[in-house]
């Protein structure tokens, strides 16, 4: 029996393999392009940190300098700007913000996810509304309030506006929503109070969410320049980006090698912390097998 219509022949194994190879190459080319675009400034910073002043603005870009000038750059960065002090300030501010955020948001999120009380839907829509308000919007009233309270130029003034994170409440609420009700009820029958249910029963299973949120929070507040710039004028309290800004236009202004070295020092903790947290993050996901 013959048909006049042409039937597409099944592709040969070689053709299939070729097609797969081409599409893989294409996808990776796009990804590599994106990665280069993102990483190039970072690489430029790293190489500038180990170049002598004369080499930084040479027309040809080279990854490794002809003359290794790293020690001098790092030494002058550390000696002119109190970089370690900035790092400590960053640690205090980010740590303080994160701890209070978790202490406030976790019980809030638990209540919104698992407790039944009148007004819960309204409270949750307020949380969603809060997500829509940019941090810059309430900065003027906050500044005035802090000035009235006389707490400008303190660690507290840098941390306080961020203590209540609607994003954290939202994130944890979504996570707790999927926590099995039976386990919470079993805990109630075993005599565990609601606060202890949160901290002893639910939180140990929420490490992936806590790790994810911690990364967001620390990155955001470590890199935040806007709010510290408004409430802090004392260099001793400056967070890393603010400190760098102070020194970029005074002492280190013309020494780009030292500036790049300083930038490397203040970004290093974040990069290292992220690499560590990422591992924990993956371990956390595989560890909590709730069934």
């Amino acid at each position: 029996m013959r048909t006049s219509t042409t039937i597409a022949r099944p592709p040969t194994p070689v053709a299939i393999r070729m097609r797969r190879l081409v599409s893989l190459a294409l996808v990776h080319a796009v990804l590599i392009g994106g990665a280069v675009f993102m990483l190039l400034p970072f690489v430029f910073m790293l190489t500038s940190a180990i170049k002598p002043p004369g080499e930084i603005f040479e027309a040809t870009f080279r990854l490794w300098p002809r003359q290794f000038y790293g020690w001098q750059n790092f030494e002058s960065a550390l000696s002119t700007a109190p970089l370690l002090r900035f790092l400590l300030n960053g640690l205090i501010v980010c740590g303080g913000i994160l701890v209070v955020q978790l202490l406030v948001a976790i019980p809030c999120a638990y209540a919104l996810a698992k407790l039944r009380f009148p007004g819960r839907p309204i409270l949750f829509s307020l949380v969603l509304l809060g997500l829509c308000i940019p941090v810059q919007a309430p900065s003027l009233p906050l500044y005035i309030a802090f000035a009235e309270l006389g707490i400008l130029n303190t660690y507290l003034s840098m941390m306080m506006p961020f203590f209540l994170s609607v994003f954290a409440i939202f994130l944890f609420r979504q996570f707790f929503k999927s926590y099995p009700d039976e386990i919470i009820q079993a805990a109630r029958l075993d005599g565990v109070g609601e606060f202890e249910i949160v901290w002893r029963i639910v939180v140990p299973s929420a490490w992936p969410a806590i790790a994810a949120f911690s990364i967001f929070s620390v990155v955001a507040h470590w890199n935040d320049l806007y709010w510290p710039l408004i409430v802090v004028s004392d260099t001793k309290l400056a967070t890393p980006p603010l400190g760098m800004m102070y020194f970029a236009d005074s002492e280190l202004g013309s020494n780009y090698g030292a500036l790049a070295a300083g930038a490397t020092i203040i970004t290093a903790p974040l990069v290292i912390a992220f690499l560590i947290a990422r591992r924990r993050f993956i371990a956390g996901i595989t560890m909590t097998g709730i069934k």
Binding site: P180, E182, I183, Q185, A186, A187, R188, L189, D190, G191, V192, E196, I201, P204, S205, T288, G289, I290, K291
Partner: protein, 388 residues
């Protein structure tokens, strides 16, 4: 240990009534099963007893005192959940010890870092460990004390959940479909273990299931529920032999009961598909009746009580078979008959007969009607004369 009393328990979720004025008395040490199709309110009733859900009206008493104002753990009852509800991040030992540490240690002694500062804590924890070990030995789970629930099989998790309930020496055990996540073989085994456990502990157990075999085999009494009402409360034999409604008759018994449409004749006799059965009814609200006959009461052959059927297929269960028939008079009515293997398998049209005393007669609302069997009396006279 204590009995329980429920009075006028009512619960609605939004507009839907889940429980309609439930009254129930459960004796001390009784094994009572709440059985019914899913969504009948049995789990909600159990959770109201536990205090996890609050009733809209009515009251719950345990051991003669009202517990309506008490929180779940203050009611001193334990509950075993369908998916075990073990704490996933704690070891088996910690899971079982938690109810005791919560009652015997104060907040300070339970804090993660402070606990090492309390001299009393160590003594109390030793005592708790001893008690947990004693319970674990009864359930044969002490060998995996240090594993997490995720590393256990379904049956082992079930035992840990039971153990966590037992360490508290509760006044009553509440069980919410505890066996339904197990495979068939293990379920049969755990059924036996639970029955033995109940006999050994002698504690009140309230057991929720949708599985009528569990309800029949394990309970002292069972309450058949549907649409938020208790349709019938009685011993398994009671419910099986004298079902109060067609719903109960259909739910209890496997394979399900055969129901035939019937009418009441002018003299009060029951007419089934043109045959007059040798049974009478009185005071029926409407002439329409339903006659129920269990498949195991049907046999192939003639008699005064019989229906004509067409054979469809056979299910072989090994020692016995379930035969499927259609009623010749109205083919949409399926008829089941249970016979021992070795009996001849019929073909085509056959007559299935049953005894008048095996007939369950229900009125047009599905409620049971007591019948009088005419032949029974005459048969007894005849037997008496034969003996003579």
């Amino acid at each position: 240990m204590a009995g329980l009393t429920l009075r006028g328990i009512r619960k609605t979720f939004g507009d839907t009534a889940v429980l309609n004025d439930i009254d129930l008395d459960i004796a001390d040490g009784e094994f009572l099963t709440l059985v019914g199709p899913s969504g009948c309110g049995k789990s909600t009733l159990l959770r109201i007893i536990a205090g996890l859900e609050s009733q809209d009206r009515g009251s719950v008493s345990i051991g003669g005192t009202s517990v309506d104002h008490l929180r779940p753990h203050e009611r001193r009852i334990a509950m075993v959940f369908q998916n075990y509800a073990l704490y996933p991040h704690m070891s088996v030992f910690d899971n079982m010890a938690l109810p005791l540490t919560m009652t015997r240690l104060n907040l300070f002694e339970r804090l993660p870092l402070m606990r090492h500062l309390s001299p009393r804590r160590r003594r109390v924890m030793d005592e708790i460990a001893r008690e947990v070990r004693a319970v674990a030995e009864q359930l044969r789970i002490e060998t995996f004390f240090h594993r997490r629930p995720g590393q256990l099989s379904g049956g082992q998790r079930q035992r840990v959940a039971l153990g966590r309930a037992m360490v508290r020496h509760p006044q009553a055990f509440l069980m919410d479909e505890p066996l339904s996540n197990l495979d068939a073989k293990l379920r049969v085994h755990m059924r036996g273990e639970l029955t033995e456990l109940h006999a050994r502990l002698g504690v009140t157990m309230i057991y929720v299931t949708h599985d009528q075999i569990e309800a029949m085999t394990m309970s002292d009494r069972l309450a058949v529920m549907d649409h938020g009402d208790i349709l019938q409360l009685g011993t398994p034999a009671d419910v099986y032999d004298r079902p109060a409604t067609t719903a109960v008759a259909q739910f209890i018994g496997s394979p399900a009961i055969n129901l035939f449409p019937a009418r009441v004749g002018p003299g009060g006799q029951v007419e089934l598909l043109g045959r007059t059965l040798p049974i009478d009814v009185r005071n029926v609200p409407a002439p329409e009746l339903t006659v129920g006959v269990r498949p195991e009461a049907m046999r192939i052959g003639g008699g005064p009580c019989a229906v004509t059927c067409r054979f469809r297929r056979r299910e072989n269960l090994g020692s016995e078979s379930i035969l499927h028939f259609d009623l010749v008079a109205s083919p949409e009515v399926a008829v089941l008959c249970r016979i021992d293997n070795g009996m001849p398998i019929p073909e085509g049209e056959v007559t299935l007969a049953f005894e008048p005393r095996d007939c369950h007669v229900f009125d047009n609302n599905g409620r049971r009607i007591e019948v009088e069997s005419r032949n029974a009396a005459s048969r007894d006279v005849r037997r008496a004369s034969e003996v003579r």
